[in-house]
Each structure stands twice: as C-alpha cells, then as structure tokens.
C-alpha cells in the first residue's frame, strides 16, 4: 500500500499541493481528477517516490520512504512504475525500451555480459518484454526504432515499459490526453489488465468520463488537497462535498 499523509509541497513559495492524504491498495484503480495546474503531476511525482514533499509522510508497504537510507529508497522506488503524459521513450528499439526496467534491476556483471553478447548478435527478448507488449497489442514492434512509432503506439510502449518489471504500483500522468479514441481504449484496457494482475494503479486525468470508466475510486483535487475521495459511483452520483458536486456537474469552472 502507498500512503500519503498530509503531504504539502510548494514551488518557489507557491503551494501546489496542500495537505493531501491518499492511500492506494494493490489491485485497485484510483483516478485523480481536477483541472490543469492543480498539482496532479506533483502529487504523482510524490507517489512515484522521486520527489520529497516539503511536509507530510510517504509510506510504501509500511516503510517511511524519506526516512529510509538511499539503498532502501531505491528498492522501494523499484516497486513503482510510471507513464508520462508524453511517452518519453529512449532513442533505441522498442524491445530495448521495454526491457529497461528489467535491465537496471540486474547486477552489473550480467549487464556487461549481455552488453558484450549483444555486440555479437541478439540476446533474444525476455519473456516479460513480450508479455508486456502483448498487453498493449504491440508485440510485433519489438525491433522497431522508438522514434518510428506513432504517438499512440509510443504511449502504449511507454505503458508496456512500466509494466514489464511487474511493479506493485503504476502511476499514469494524463496518459491519453494526446491520443485518439482507439489508442485511448487500448490504454484503458491495459489499465484494467494491470488491475487484474493485482497492481495498484493511479491515473491522473482531466477526463471525468475516463475516470468514470476505469476507476474504482476517485480523488477530486481542486487546489488545496483532496476535496473528496471515494468510490467512483459515490463521487459521480452522490458527492458529499459541495465543491465536488459543482465540479462534477460542470458548474465550477477553473
């Protein structure tokens, strides 16, 4: 379980996240909705354990992340995967991209041996890479260069790259905001597949319909921490917070 407790963070004295608390269990999809510029990305960076918040605590499976030493924190960080709004693929083949998380988790001896072997010929592709690409329907692109993919394909490869090393939690920052409906659908299918694999998924999105389609729970972020977090149905049908209700119904425009 990832648990954020009373997390606050500011850039240049400007508070971006203020007193936010959230916990995510394995096997559930949590959507974070809210208008742009409201701190969703900052919150995901805190969840991905790559940004230390100014205040509050971050726990992963019972360990307080920022009290742990560097080695321990790396081990914790490696239980989390992330997909960015733009695919941010490396300039290499699809297979090399998807394999990246697996590669950095291996010892240097193995990595150097594989590196030498790859000079002589192919190493073959690890099973996990093929499986991950299968989930996003791109198992036939293994040997393509990443920069030859379309935007939608690149984003799906990016998803497979985060899935390949079987993280316990997967964070997605506006993963479909630049995609067409077909690719959006494929990413949403992949999110459901991740949930079936008992991965905890957090999706930051400004698309309320997407949240409604895929999320088990929804957190509404309207500027100063979550106004409300609850089961998807409750948030959309019967929110208890007045501002949430106005945001859902479109009356509250930012």
């Amino acid at each position: 379980m990832i648990r954020l407790s009373n997390v606050s963070h500011a850039y240049d004295g400007e508070p971006v996240v203020d007193d936010a608390s959230l916990s995510v269990e394995p096997g559930e999809v949590v959507a974070i909705i809210g208008p742009s510029g409201v701190g969703k990305t900052t919150l995901l960076r805190v969840l991905s354990l790559s940004l230390e918040p100014d205040a509050g605590t971050v726990e992963l499976d019972g360990d307080s992340v920022w009290d742990a030493d560097e080695d321990r924190r790396l081990a914790l960080r490696r239980r989390v995967g992330m997909v960015f709004q733009d695919a941010s693929l490396f300039d290499a083949t699809v297979a090399r991209n998807v394999e990246y998380g697996l590669r950095v988790r291996r010892g240097w001896n193995d990595r150097i041996r594989d590196g030498l072997r790859s000079v002589l010929g192919s190493n073959g592709t690890p099973r996990a890479v093929e499986e991950a690409l299968d989930v996003v329907g791109l198992s036939d692109t293994l040997d393509q260069e990443a920069d030859s993919l379309s935007g939608g394909e690149a984003q799906r490869v990016s998803f497979a790259r985060a899935l390949a090393y079987e993280p316990r939690f997967l964070l997605l920052d506006e993963p479909t905001s630049d995609l067409d409906p077909r690719n959006t659908g494929l990413i949403e299918d992949a999110i459901r597949e991740a949930r079936d694999r008992d991965i905890g998924v957090v999706v930051a999105t400004h698309d309320m319909h997407q949240a409604e389609r895929i999320a088990d729970r929804v957190g509404v972020l309207l500027g100063d921490g979550f106004t409300e977090i609850g089961p998807t149905e409750t948030i959309f049908e019967d929110p208890s917070d007045e501002r949430t209700r106005k945001f859902i119904s479109g009356e509250l425009v930012y």
């Binding site: 991905s48 790559s50 995967g81 490396f90 090399r96 990246y100 998380g101 950095v104």
Partner: protein, 238 residues
C-alpha cells in the same frame, strides 16, 4: 575533372625523399599522441559535462565561461605553459618529460578538453528532462540515469570527441614546443607528428612533400571520423 594534381600527388607519394618507415612512424606518433590525449580528455570531459548538466553549484557560470575561453585558447600558449611545467626547472621537472610523447599528450589534453567538454555539455543539456525522469522512475540508479543521458546524447558526444581529435591532430605549435620534433638517427619518429613534419618540409621549401604529408594527414583525419561516425551509428546497445 583535372586529374593532374592528383597524379602529381600520387607520384610525389611514390618517390618521397624519406627513409623506409619514416612516414608510418610519423603517422603512428600523431595517432598515438592524439588518440591517448583525446581518450583522457573524454574520460575527464563527459563526467564533468554530466556534473555541470545535472547539478547547480556556485560558480557554475564562471566554470562555463572558462571552458568557452579554453576552446579558443592559443595552442602555442598551452605549449609554453606545459613546457614551463615539465621543464627541468618547472614543478614536474623531476619526471624528465621535456621532448617526450608524454609531454605532447599533456598539451594535447589541455587543448582537447575544452571543446570536448563544451560540446558534450550542449548535447547533454539537450536531452529532454522527461527522458531523465523516465530512467529514474523506471528504477535506474544515478549511474543508470547518467548512462541513459550519454546514450541519448551520443551523436553530440561523438561530435565533441571528433572536434577534440581534430584540434589535437592538426595542432602544430604546442607539440613543436614540448615535443621538439625529434626523429632518431634511424629515421624513425620519436616526437615528430604529421603537422610538425609538414612544418619542417615547408621550412625547407619542399612544398611538394609537405603537400603529400598534408594529404596523409587529411586521410588520417577522414578515416578516424568515418570510424567514429560508424561506431556512433551501430555502436552501443542498438
């Protein structure tokens, strides 16, 4: 296309007034000194560029401006500084480095490092922050992240290394001062490079042989460039 100059050059090449082994040994010294100096510069420059690209520290702008100044630093001045350092009267005098390849490597290192660092830094800063974040978030250590950045910037870094190599191998002033342009009595170069050999021929008015040696120099530079470009293309982890 007029073939006469080409034919003339070839004929000049065939009956150069040099003893056997002279030209190969001069090429060898040129490559030995430049390649080692550039390799050392690269080992120094890339970590330096990564450190400057990734971190902020007081005086960073100053360091950058020093490097940019260094790119235009006159090689003769570098030669003099290295000569003062390695001279019997200088701080490194006890090492007996005057008129040796090692002293030439030192001055080439000083000359090649600023362009390699500056161009690598530009290439590294050009790598998108998202790619760096991705490497980290996918579980990479600090070293893994650095390697990803190097890999993303590999064309720029190859350009940097080539620029450094070009500066080193085509340089005359400093290698003449610290190397002494020495060949042995057997006609084998000790510290004579292609550039200083050309300078020696020109000094004696033998412009044809100087031209032929110049053609050899150009051929060597082109060959090295081709090899590096090819390595950059097919090389690491593709």
């Amino acid at each position: 296309m007029p073939l006469e100059p080409v034919v003339g050059l070839l004929q000049g090449f065939l009956d150069l007034p040099f003893r056997d082994g002279y030209v190969p040994s001069v090429v060898y010294v040129s490559l030995y000194v430049s390649v080692i100096a550039v390799a050392l510069s690269t080992l120094f420059s890339i970590p330096a560029a990564l450190a400057m690209g990734f971190t902020d520290f007081p005086g960073k702008q100053f360091v950058k401006s020093v490097i940019n100044t260094g790119m235009g630093f006159p090689s003769v001045v570098v030669g003099l500084l290295v000569l003062f350092a390695v001279s019997n009267r200088g701080p490194l005098g006890a090492l007996d480095l005057v008129f040796t390849k090692e002293a030439m490597i030192m001055s080439q290192f000083v000359l090649a490092t600023p362009p390699i660092t500056a161009i690598s830094l530009a290439a590294i800063t050009g790598v998108s922050d998202n790619v760096r974040d991705a490497a980290r978030v996918l579980g990479g250590t600090r070293l893994d992240t650095a390697l990803v950045v190097i890999k993303e910037a590999r064309y720029g870094i190859a350009t940097a290394v080539l620029a450094g190599f070009g500066r080193a191998i085509s340089e005359v002033g400093s290698v003449l001062i610290v190397g002494g342009n020495i060949t042995g009595a057997d006609g084998v170069s000790k510290t004579r490079t292609l550039t200083t050999a050309i300078q020696l021929e020109a000094r004696q008015g033998r412009y044809e042989t100087a031209m032929v040696l110049g053609a050899v120099l150009v051929a060597v530079v082109l060959t090295v460039n081709a090899i590096v470009v090819r390595l950059g293309d097919t090389g690491v982890n593709r």
